[in-house]
């Protein structure tokens, strides 16, 4: 009997603890400002992975990001950025009224994007008539699943604009899979665009930088995920074309709590002039940089080349200003801290409204993706097919990312990359590199 009572007591105590956690959750989650209901607006997406409708309009814009797990701090900001842009446009695209729903493609138990949830979401968008366009996805793998479903949606191909997918095969031919990109567009028309340059620009830009720095030998490590391995692959190709010796392209373990000193000791035995990392700062990147410096010495000696998964202030905070000093980081367009014009206005508005710890590099891309979609909707006749067809060849001026256009494949023409260096705890020493066509590998 006693044991039953003590169990019940323990359960009650736990429940109380959880209620406390939930209470705290509501205070921090309040920022999303869900007014609920969407009175007067169209019926939103009923899938439980989507949050309540915000605003009330005839057309629904959905976002599709992993809202749980390790990329959460990025994706929450991206949703906030989308909402801010919509508010600044008064929830309208041309004469069409809009509402917004944030959808989640991750699960609690996996802590990252979940392929089953991605397919289910895509079906939910396709079958909800008011959905006119989707901003997403975050992970290229998820886009590979959602785009073909949206491509065959009733009422015409449903437009997707991604702020974060960098796998080239989504829009272009690749050498690794001859069926790309056509296998993602079974209906024959395109419906997918992105505002972030694909990896086949980023890799060559870093390789050109390496050449400029007089690097003769380079060692590549990658996270063995779609993004990191992709950037590493395109960097390797370009580096070889430029006559730089690639000593190796190995995977590293991304789990928090991994130490990389031994890994770099192994690399040190090959005496590289530079290290290139294909990965993300949130995948134990801070530790990686610390251990690189611990074993191979400061970044002024053996150079450290990082792609845009690292181009954020938190790379410097996580690894320490002294350790990050001299590391090169590339980004398409302009990094958040250096935005000018509309970008800096947006940034100060964003900081005033949501007061984030640090603005994530993907946040302005989410805003730019929203602007692309809004302009395509404004120019459309209100059907899905028309929005999709309006994505291609669209010209944007004065956006968060400056002026850019979307080409016939759905790629941004911002092929020039800005490369920053960590200087005195800040991103500085900006230089612009535009990879020539000969280096940008296409299938």
């Amino acid at each position: 009997m006693k044991s039953v009572r003590s169990r019940a007591l323990a359960a009650a105590a736990l429940l109380a603890g959880l209620a406390f956690a939930a209470g705290c959750g509501s205070s921090s989650g309040g920022g999303s400002g869900g007014t609920g209901g969407g009175s007067g607006g169209s019926a939103g997406i009923t899938a439980s992975t989507c949050q309540n409708v915000v605003g009330s309009g005839k057309y629904t814009i959905a976002s599709d990001f992993p809202l749980q797990g390790s990329s959460q701090h990025q994706t929450v900001q991206m949703n906030q950025a989308i909402q801010l842009v919509l508010e600044q446009h008064h929830w309208k695209a041309g004469d069409k009224t809009l509402q917004f729903q944030a959808c989640d493609d991750s699960t609690a138990q996996l802590g990252s994007w979940d392929s089953a949830t991605c397919s289910a979401n895509a079906n939910a968008y396709a079958t909800t008539p008011s959905v006119i366009g989707v901003i997403g996805t975050f992970n290229s793998g998820c886009a590979e699943l959602e785009v073909p479903v949206a491509n065959q949606a009733p009422g015409g191909a449903l437009a997707f604009v991604s702020p974060a997918n960098t796998w080239p095969g989504l829009t272009q031919k690749t050498t690794s899979d001859p069926a790309e990109p056509l296998k993602y567009y079974p209906s024959g028309t395109r419906n997918y665009a992105r505002v972030i340059p694909a990896d086949n620009f980023q890799g060559p830009a870093l390789a050109l930088l390496a050449q400029k720095l007089n690097v003769k030998t380079v060692y590549i490590i990658n996270d063995k995920q779609a993004y990191g391995a992709g950037v590493a692959h395109y960097f390797e190709d370009a580096a070889k074309k430029l006559g730089i010796t690639v000593l190796g392209n190995d995977a590293y373990n991304t789990k928090t709590g991994t130490n990389y000193q031994a890994l770099f000791q192994g690399i040190a035995s090959k005496h590289p002039d530079a290290i290139m990392v294909g990965g993300l700062i949130c995948e134990n990147g801070g530790q990686l940089i610390k251990d690189k410096v611990a074993v191979l010495g400061a970044n002024s000696g053996v150079k450290l080349l990082l792609p845009d998964g690292f181009t954020t202030q938190s790379t410097i905070t996580d690894s320490g200003a002294k350790i990050a000093e001299g590391a090169y980081m590339s980004v398409g367009g302009v990094p958040v801290d250096q935005l000018t014009g509309a970008g800096s206005t947006f940034l100060s508005d964003f900081k005033a409204k949501y007061s984030p710890d640090a603005v994530d590099p993907y946040t302005p891309y989410a805003a730019a993706a929203t602007e692309v979609l809004l302009q395509a909707i404004a120019a459309s006749d209100g059907t899905r097919a028309s929005v999709s067809s309006n994505l291609f060849g669209i010209q944007l001026t004065g956006t968060v990312l400056g002026d850019f256009a979307i080409d016939a494949n759905g790629d941004t023409n911002q092929g020039s990359m800005t490369i920053y260096q960590a200087v005195g705890g800040q991103l500085g020493n900006a230089q612009v590199i535009t990879p020539p066509k000969s280096l940008v590998e296409t299938g």
Partner: protein, 357 residues
């Protein structure tokens, strides 16, 4: 032996146990031999690289050691794989950041003696908090399940692990918690072998671990409480009849595990200068593997297992002559574990009792 020597009792299989025993021996020798060949090959190819990588492995191993002991202590006494232990370790590192950096303002600018004193306070604080926390968890969720089926507390521990991670996420957020270098940073080398420097702090981590281990061994071997622990581990009912307060002893064991995790967490922050809410997952998995490798329930075994895992991981990442490389680290660690368990089911130093193995 826990093997099924009476496999079926049929006559034609009568010779099997003897064969299996020899086969075990042969296979064991083959596995150890292969590892040895790879090691020797690397040592010949570049002994400087080999020595530096192994030294890194030792530091890594001493980290795993503190965590593995927590697993093995708890398992030894109530046969529970305490899945939440890695997350207690993570909380230890969080406490260390909160106490050391936020409260005491440790940033490496203080003089040597002040730093050492503040460090001691930080470590003691993290150890005390983790120990207390672990006891509270034990009293709250494991104790009511003591008579329940064995898998119930296991699942509870998994649930607890999720809760601890979420609470850390809630209080510390998803980004890394960083601390300044309090120990001499990694550019301060104790000595250099060729191009490889051996950082002073790598040695300091090992040097702090050793007295903690010695204290633990003394506690379990020679004190009254330690004897009570061993008695409860051996036979709970008999211990109870001898007048040992079993509940208290079990709580004490959890406290001890928590204290070790607190010490480990503090050391982690000192060494790596950062931590995050999901730190406990992989580290806990490797440390648990180490505990099993050495023979779960056996303190020396856990320490041995931890150093083996540390060396394996470092060797696989850092050596260059015929090793699978860092994309296979988890696989290598687990493959060696599986091979050892298959050929020596009770773990390296475990006792071959029918119940345990």
């Amino acid at each position: 032996m826990a093997t099924d020597s009476p496999a079926s009792g049929r006559p034609k299989l009568a010779a099997l146990p003897a064969l299996a025993k020899n086969l075990n021996l042969v296979m064991g020798v083959v596995v150890v031999g292969m590892v040895a060949i790879v090691l020797i090959g690397n040592a010949i190819q570049d002994w400087r690289q080999f020595v530096s990588v192994m030294l890194t492995g030792i530091t890594l191993g001493s980290m795993y050691c503190l965590v593995a002991l927590g697993y093995t202590l708890v398992y030894g006494i109530i046969e529970l794989i305490n899945f939440a232990h890695g997350d207690v370790f993570m909380w230890g590192s969080m406490f260390a950041v909160t106490i050391g950096v936020s409260t005491l303002g440790l940033d490496g600018s203080q003089s040597g003696i002040v730093t050492a004193l503040l460090l001691l306070v930080t470590m003691a604080g993290a150890m005390a908090l983790c120990g207390t926390g672990n006891v509270i968890i034990e009293r709250l969720v494991y104790k009511p399940l003591r008579s329940a089926p064995k898998l119930a507390p296991l699942i509870t521990a998994i649930g607890m692990s999720f809760i601890l991670q979420t609470l850390a996420l809630k209080f510390y957020g998803p980004s890394e918690q960083t601390a300044d270098n309090v120990l001499p940073d990694s550019s301060h080398h104790l000595f250099t072998i060729g191009i490889y420097g051996y950082a002073q702090k790598n040695l300091i981590v090992v040097l702090i671990t050793l007295p903690v281990l010695a204290a633990l061994v003394y506690l379990v071997r020679s004190t009254r409480q330690g004897k009570a622990m061993r008695a409860v581990a051996q036979d709970t009912d008999a211990a109870r009849m001898m007048g040992i307060d079993v509940d208290r002893t079990i709580s004490f064991t959890f406290a001890l595990g928590g204290v070790l995790a607190g010490a480990g967490g503090t050391l982690w922050v000192l060494w790596q200068t950062s931590t995050r809410y999901d730190l406990g997952f992989q580290l806990g998995l490797f440390a648990f593997t180490a505990a099993v490798l050495g023979g779960i329930g056996n303190l020396n075994g856990a320490a041995l297992g931890a150093f083996i895992i540390g060396l394996l991981q470092a060797g696989n990442d850092g050596l260059s002559w015929h090793v699978p490389g860092s994309s296979w680290t988890q696989s290598v660690v687990f493959a060696v574990l599986i091979l050892i368990l298959v050929f020596r089911p009770q773990g390296l130093l475990g006792e071959a009792t029918a119940d345990r193995a």
